[in-house]
């Protein structure tokens, strides 16, 4: 006997989760399609040097290599963005710009698994990207898409934070901060939500920043309000240096609102820091104010340098990830997504071999009419059929034996109320369609 087991950090998606997940992914796909995006899939296995293009040494540790030939050639994909860039570079001559694709596939990361905190080594990414269009039209479109997707799924209250990657160097210059690196400061600022201002100030001091530098930095980070007000304040503090970025942000916000995204859903948050070595323009992140611990439900931004890794020219790009797993977690906690054990709502008993034909022909009729039915797997007593149906979580048991066949009916037993009624086959089809909604 082989001991059945899974490697740490990996999990099965059992039916009660998958039913849910399939519905969610299909709903998100429908939003992608409405926005005119087209699907792409790429191989799980690629050359290591292709996959590491973006991540360099960080990726080295997190990538699952294959023991193939020299053992250094192939690995499992780490995300869906690098494969998109590689795909675009290989096919650009036949892909009219902009290339707008969605991709919903699994990725693998050899991270420290924290399964209780929902951190796994294998997980879905659900990405949508626009390659080959400058800001801010596609960026604004992605915000509208995130807003539509989260509303469609059933979330009422969510916030999309927005900022621009190119602000940070200007902020640092304004505050007179040269060393330490931009990245170190950004990492600390990124913790503002989690740690609060006081602890962030302590950490900035640890990095060697003076009180005056920190003060000036917060003159900027503390700015909040309507996008237009924030832009005015930034222009008055930083002047010329940020006028291009501010112009882009102004056009961007105008478009987001023209798309009909409610004003209350957008926050211009200057402390939003995302993947500094990667993003090059507008960045964004959606979260639920009611469940801040779930983290971002969707996040992304502009990355104009990635595709160029694989081509002799630079190609602008922007995209977002929809966090399927976090959406599922949040949806369950808010009670907007309920667990189902079955697709079918009815279980058809098999108990008398004389009338198997009668049962099978009705099961077949129901299914052809679009009513899902589970048929009992073997001939057994009515009692045993009831037990199986109950264990499987079915509310209704259908029974058809000699009496029913003579009368041309089927008995429908409600396993909850224990009531039973007889329906003709056409009545049964109608009833079946009703209970399936």
């Amino acid at each position: 006997m082989i001991k059945p087991r899974l490697f740490r950090g990996f999990r099965d998606y059992p039916p009660e989760e998958m039913l849910f997940r399939e519905r969610l992914i299909e709903r998100v796909r429908q939003v992608f399609r409405r926005y005119g995006f087209v699907p792409l899939e790429t191989p799980a296995i690629e050359y290591v040097d292709v996959l590491l293009g973006k991540y360099g040494s960080d990726g080295e540790k997190l990538i699952y290599r294959l023991a193939y030939k020299d053992g250094n050639t192939l690995a499992l994909r780490y995300d869906l963005t690098v494969p998109l860039a590689r795909f675009y570079a290989m096919n650009y001559t036949r892909l009219p710009l902009p290339f707008r694709r969605y991709q919903v596939e699994k990725v693998w990361r050899a991270e420290h698994a924290q399964m209780t905190r929902g951190r796994f080594r294998e997980f879905y990414q659900c990405d949508v990207d626009v390659v080959g269009a400058p800001p801010p039209i596609p960026d604004a479109e992605l915000i509208s898409l995130i807003s539509d997707a989260l509303s469609d799924i059933g979330f009422n209250r969510f916030i999309i934070k927005v900022s621009h990657r190119k602000f940070l160097p200007e902020f640092l210059r304004y505050a007179g901060i040269e060393a330490p690196s931009e990245l170190d400061v950004a990492r600390v600022i990124d913790k503002l939500d989690k740690l609060g201002k006081e602890r962030v100030i302590l950490e900035l001091e640890k990095l060697g920043l003076s009180a005056r530098q920190i003060g000036k930095l917060f003159d900027i980070l503390d700015i909040s309000g309507e996008p237009d007000e924030v832009i005015e304040r930034l222009l008055s503090l930083l002047g010329e240096d940020v006028s291009d970025i501010c112009g882009e942000m102004r056009r961007f916000f105008g478009m987001v609102f023209s798309f009909g995204v409610p004003k209350g859903r957008l926050v211009f948050d200057l402390s939003l820091m995302r993947g500094l070595d990667y993003y090059t323009g507008i960045v964004f992140e959606a979260y639920l104010p009611d469940l801040p611990d779930v983290g971002s439900l969707a996040a992304g931004g502009r990355y104009d340098n990635l595709v160029g890794l694989f081509m002799n020219r630079s190609v602008p790009a922007t995209g977002t990830t929809i966090g399927i797993d976090r959406i599922l977690t949040a949806g369950r906690r808010l009670g907007i997504m309920l667990k189902d054990k079955n697709v079918a709502k009815v279980f058809f008993a098999l108990f008398d071999k004389e009338f198997v034909d009668y049962v099978l022909s009705i099961v077949s009729r129901l299914r052809r009419e679009g009513v899902p039915v589970e048929l009992g797997g073997k001939l057994c007593s009515i009692k045993e059929n009831i037990q199986t149906a109950e264990k499987k979580g079915y509310r209704y048991l259908l029974i058809a034996g000699g009496d029913e066949k003579r009368k041309g009916v089927v008995a429908v037993r409600d396993l909850k109320t224990r009531e039973q009624k007889a329906l003709t086959v056409s009545e049964l089809v109608k009833w079946g369609k009703e209970i399936c909604g």
Copy 2:
């Protein structure tokens, strides 16, 4: 610059294929759901000893191992049946029998890639299995499911060959064949369709079979006709030894026809040999008589010994694979599945920054009404918008500038006929819904 490239045997699924594939998979899933099957997903990465359970030394060569720790621990799944058995063994206490699941995921095999012949190292498997129910009810249900799925997809003429794994030893005994192994003889018989009888006889002679043995073997293999006639002939030739199997086959065929599968779709084919070391009962295979070279579109059978590898007791099981790739190939060749380049049917031009707001609000309205729209990625001339829309394969270009905004309309240009008409926004929504079907 990193050279963008793929490893041999791997491929991208570009949008024009994916659009198709997504529709096909969704349609097949709907059939699975109607039959009361529930979805499961399992990790791509599992322990090597778990994955090799079924395949032993054959699998050794074909499995992609990961370079992880000692390099011998983990590998990529090779199929979806072993993971199902492993999942069942780990969860059986909470899974009421029978457990009926479908799983549509990719698998990886380090085979010799023959890409021109459609043989890849990564491909989808689309499996549906019933664990924990004896023959022949679920076996018959699977035949009905295959028949419904292929009809729903649009195939009119297909044949499902059926046989039983336990016939072969009886046939060999009847023909007085002891050595060579069952497996060797089965491999030759399996080529009957491809090579024809004469060449198969030559190959059987090479295995050392006498003319008399071969003659007696063909007394059986030549039997054909209605299931009942075949069963009668078998009973008269082989007697008692096959009476149990023949009884099972008779009940099985009765049920298949009760499910409403047309008689002409079933062939009781005694030369059908499938995975001898694996199957234990009824086996089947669906193919298109008009496209025999495509191979089987669906295939499967009963395997009562697999789940037991992971448990202390034996658990009966039966299942089928739906061959998504072959169905796509066949569907295209028969013209029942057409390629689409886009989800959306309309491309909305962006050409005048004064009226971007007007355009965005209409795009948004169309999308919310369920009409997919691709929005131009940047402001550019009408001419350039037309070129982009044409390159992308769009039939209709929508235009809205100052004139249109004043009149509250949108210009719809048919890029094929070059006709243009003006529609109010509500007329546009109605028109959009119509062209999207």
